[in-house]
């Protein structure tokens, strides 16, 4: 699954860049994130709760900053998470690119996410995770833009 989002953020590029590397703040823009804590070495451990109708999944996993290139404005985050009860797992790579915006003190933010659903998750679980990933990514991109923007 590939998700692409582009938005104009009301903050200068340096502010956006600093925000993107602050993984806990970025993670809190993901709807359903319950906890996120540093385990050192640019790695973080967290819990994401997903509710779809009567289905409740608790995805536990890790996020790591896989690479960062401040000159180019490109940061890559990698995440893996699994639900013990349903035996399903998700892995995702999120490439975030920040460039100067057209207007002063604005930036253009592009987020490209590649995600895979893995594990013994069955006929019901697959569409739930795929649908929810789409909705979650849309909300995440909107929340991130709002959180970074300088009021």
């Amino acid at each position: 699954m590939r998700f692409e989002h582009k938005s104009t953020v009301n903050a200068p590029r340096a502010v956006v860049w600093a925000f993107l590397l602050d993984v806990p703040r970025v993670a809190h823009c993901v709807p359903g994130v319950e906890t996120i804590e540093s385990i050192g070495d640019d790695r973080f451990r967290g819990v994401l709760k997903v509710a779809v109708g009567p289905v409740r999944l608790t995805l536990t996993g890790e996020v790591a900053i896989a690479s960062r290139d401040e000159a180019a404005g490109i940061a890559v985050l990698r995440a893996t998470a699994a639900d013990k009860g349903a035996g399903g797992a998700v892995s995702a790579e999120m490439r975030m690119v920040v460039t100067d915006g057209m207007a002063p003190d604005t930036s253009e933010l592009q987020i490209v996410t590649e995600a895979q659903v893995m594990g013994r998750i069955g006929e019901f679980g697959q569409p739930i995770i795929k649908r929810k990933a789409d909705q979650t990514m849309n909300e995440f991109a909107a929340n991130l833009g709002r959180a970074i923007s300088v009021p």
Partner: protein, 286 residues
């Protein structure tokens, strides 16, 4: 890996509603159990209380009402609907749609109410029922209510039922004289598979060829079944020629939001939605 739960066996709908109201999110209704048991085994649903409707006999049965409506109880099985002379007389399309769900073993067990509450967008009954204007009969702690089926199904596996509410049946108002209806599904893998796309259409065409009434609903190509209102609007009041049918089918495909899976990519499913909508429209309009 099913966790432990308390099993409740109420004898009436009212007792079932009281149990649901008391236990809230911790309770889940079981009718035929064909989907719920699988989802519990897969660890997707872990209810602390299961409220079985097995003994609630008032929710069984299929009847015609004085105003010519067809009322199907929530616990009517797919097999009972498929074989009911009342259903066939009301809408042969509906009987045939139910006759082609999964396998006969599942149809003997799965119920109408369970199917609708499950809110799986890939199921057959919802598009077929939406095309014939089905209303869902709901009872709960508050007053009983009746809503169009498309208003029940709000997201994948998600209904608009309030806490404590129970689907008690479905009412299909009398269809206008001369209504033609069809249910098509695309099954490229096996006959008992979920559809890649399904399309139900019901129409009334005047003697001069003008489309008087039209309802089109698609399954398996969105988070919910999709009522293709733009496609309907593109044909209502017109004489449906091949060009108009193709344009309307395009509108239906635009309304879809499929996900890629083993049955095809999103783009392929959207194309098939167009193709099968064209075929359904030709069947009821041409």
């Amino acid at each position: 890996m099913t966790s432990t739960y308390d099993l409740h066996m109420p004898a009436t709908a009212r007792e079932a509603i009281d149990l649901l109201a008391r236990h809230g999110d911790d309770a889940h209704v079981m009718a035929g159990g064909t989907s719920l048991v699988l989802m519990m085994q897969q660890g997707l649903i872990r209810p602390a209380h299961v409220v079985s409707l097995h003994k609630v006999s008032e929710l069984r049965g299929i009847r015609s009402t004085a105003d010519g409506s067809l009322e199907i109880g929530a616990l009517a099985t797919h097999r009972e609907i498929e074989r009911s002379p009342l259903v066939r007389a009301h809408s042969a399309m509906l009987a045939e749609a139910f006759a082609r769900i999964a396998t006969v073993r599942i149809r003997e067990q799965a119920t109408l109410g369970g199917n609708l509450a499950h809110a799986d967008p890939a199921q057959d009954p919802p598009p077929a029922l939406i095309a014939v204007g089905a209303l869902v009969l709901i009872q709960g702690p508050g007053p009983a209510r009746e809503i169009p089926l498309e208003d029940l199904l709000v997201d994948i596996f998600t209904t608009s039922l309030e806490p404590g509410e129970l689907i008690v049946g479905v009412r299909i108002p009398p269809l206008a004289a001369g209504t033609r209806a069809v249910y098509l599904k695309f099954l490229p893998r096996t006959e008992d598979d979920y559809a890649t796309v399904s399309v139900a259409a019901a129409a009334v065409v005047a003697g001069d060829g003008t489309v008087r009434q039209l309802r089109v609903a698609l399954g398996a190509v969105g988070a919910t079944p999709i009522r293709a209102r733009a496609a309907e609007a593109a044909l209502l009041g017109l004489k449906a020629d091949e060009k108009a049918i193709k344009a309307a089918a395009e509108r239906a495909a635009e309304a879809t939001d499929p996900i890629a899976d083993g049955r095809g990519s999103a783009g392929y499913k959207r194309s098939m939605a167009r193709v099968f909508t064209e075929r359904a429209l030709r069947a009821v309009l041409a």
